[in-house]
Symmetry: none
Subunit: 196 residues, 4 copies
DNA sequence: AATGAATGAGCATTCATTCAT
DNA sequence: TATGAATGAATGCTCATTCAT
């Protein structure tokens, strides 16, 4: 039951997240300073510690947020089949990336690197997305449309990895690839490969 | 040791690279300390600066080394077709990763993250591999066996990204995937999708 | 100690300046270590960086401080003529030097050497003194008592150089000269030479 | 008894001194690297240590060299009086400075700063010049032309300080003073003040 | 909750100097 | 005498984090 003060706290928290997105987009994860994010949000250096334990925790919140948008935006439509659903998830992800390409670049590039040192935190941050995909793929396998080559959860993680990889290429400065090409490539390289 | 011969200098350099591989494998790229690598190699703190300007430069040398092994190990066999050659490259890469899985994990995880801040250095380090793949894919497209969906260089980079992504999953502690599964998955999730 | 009052911040700053004076006097500018000054002031290594960007900046603050004392202590007395005013400025400067001869030695010796690498900073630090002297000399020239050989500002700088040079000699260990001799020598060597 | 090899040694030594002059002129005393001087002279890093113990020792050699030129160039002419001889010494010094103004700036600026840490070395380097001036001034005092205000040696050192100070101003980028003005100013600000 | 001065572990980097050859 | 790889003391500097107010 949120009280007034709680919603104020939420607003402050949001201000930190917004400032962090800008800082991360501009300076990268390593280059961004926790202090600066707090100052950029209009607060004192130490205030941000009342909301986020570390810079990484704040970063994972942004990843969670991304994942949350993906899950919230997805409208299941089992009737159209798992392949269509996977395509839709890819399309949604690209849409999210398109909103803030600079931030998307940072998120996509840094998540793998953090996996080694913050394995569980990364896993937790992307869990909703992985779960969503796991469900879709499991259903596809059950219906016989998707190949049973590996466990649904494994394929779900590979889907995210592949999708991220293609987006990364599309977001690179010197690439001829465009975000508009991503869904088609996911279809061609991943989805069709899973067709039995 | 003055008046050192060139080969001795090379040997010293190798000792730093070996020590770095161990340090990077144990502590990750961010966690490894440049000075420590020098000490671990049996030299004084400052000696490593005579060989590598920065920790990242040393890391890129390791990436280059990896790439060099790939290119050196590859025996072109145009007669068997581009697909077989791509499969062979994937197989070689897995073999290299298998030699030192801990290091492989670091290399695969950290390269994307460095791409943003050290774009050109990363590109230079993996250039031989990208060039090799570009050639194979271009030949495949010319022969009509591979689809012409994107420029050979773009597809080459996507191949590496996809391959790395699958290896990353296979190297993860909690994955049911194995390095032995990688080539088959590359075949299914990338190569077959490129077949026209 | 957060929420510190402005005066407390000023007090901390003063403690650094005092510690720096001691360190500079004991070890010279090059020999003094920035971190040590912070520790000597009773603070942690890094605290001094919140107050002064570099060791040189701290040194210039001390030079400024010196100059400030000179300007603050000077009571203009145009009625007595420019020569008397110049003598008074020399007397004041000697008095300041007498308070801490070891520091005076460092300041006087190091300022010329820093002029090459930190030209503007040096100029800014001594500007009030130069301005004061420029005014006195310009008035003297206007009244016809001082020779018009060079621009007032040039002569002001030469006055400071000459004064410093004599003080340097007086402060040297092996000199027969004394700080008490300085004003007379300035009179004899500089002021009387400017008399038309 | 110099042998052939000795003269070769002298030539090598000269090459280091020449290279040092360039380096000091370009980067200042603190900024110049001992290594670089050796390399710039066309030798290996360590070779310079066979000729000069430290960077400062090399610098003092240059100061000695300067002083040597002054003493060598001076033609005593007691008949014209001490004042004329002092003027001649000032003229000679300016001439030497004019040959390499950038080096002159460094020498003039850095000598005072070194006096504190290398007192005896500085004294030794400039001893011939001080002795020369001491003789001239002592003769002037003996003949009754120069005031007896202080010991000849003290006045000799003050002469050098004053002369350097005026040259420093003349060598400064933003000064209206010129090296051509120096002798006149020395006359006006020092010599005439010593007249009894 | 907010503040922001203080902290100090941690890391990079330089470069004069040595010395085996 | 010349070499130049190796050395490591010395030092600078950052910035996440704490905590008294």
């Amino acid at each position: 039951m949120p009280r007034i003060t709680t919603s104020e706290r939420g607003a402050t928290r949001s201000r930190f997240i917004d400032a962090a997105k800008t800082e991360f987009a501009e300076r990268g994860l390593a280059g961004a300073r926790f202090d600066e994010i707090s100052l950029a949000a209009g607060h004192a250096k130490g205030t941000i510690y009342n909301y986020f334990a570390t810079k990484e925790a704040l970063f994972f919140t942004i990843v969670e947020d991304w994942c949350g948008q993906l899950v919230a935006g997805f409208v299941p439509n089992p009737g159209e089949g798992a392949e269509a659903e996977l395509r839709e998830i890819a399309r949604l992800d690209v849409e999210i990336a398109r909103k803030d390409p600079a931030l998307a670049r940072v998120v996509i590039n840094q998540v793998p690197g953090l996996a080694s040192s913050h394995d569980e935190a990364v896993a937790a941050a992307i869990a909703p997305g992985v779960n969503l995909l796991t469900g879709v793929i499991a259903a596809g396998q059950a219906s016989g449309l998707l190949a049973n080559v590996h466990a649904p959860r494994t394929l779900a993680r590979l889907f995210l990895t592949t999708l991220s990889g293609i987006e990364q290429e599309a977001l690179a400065d010197d690439s001829e690839l465009d975000l508009d090409d991503v869904v088609n490539l996911v279809e061609r390289l991943f989805i069709s490969g899973l067709r039995r």
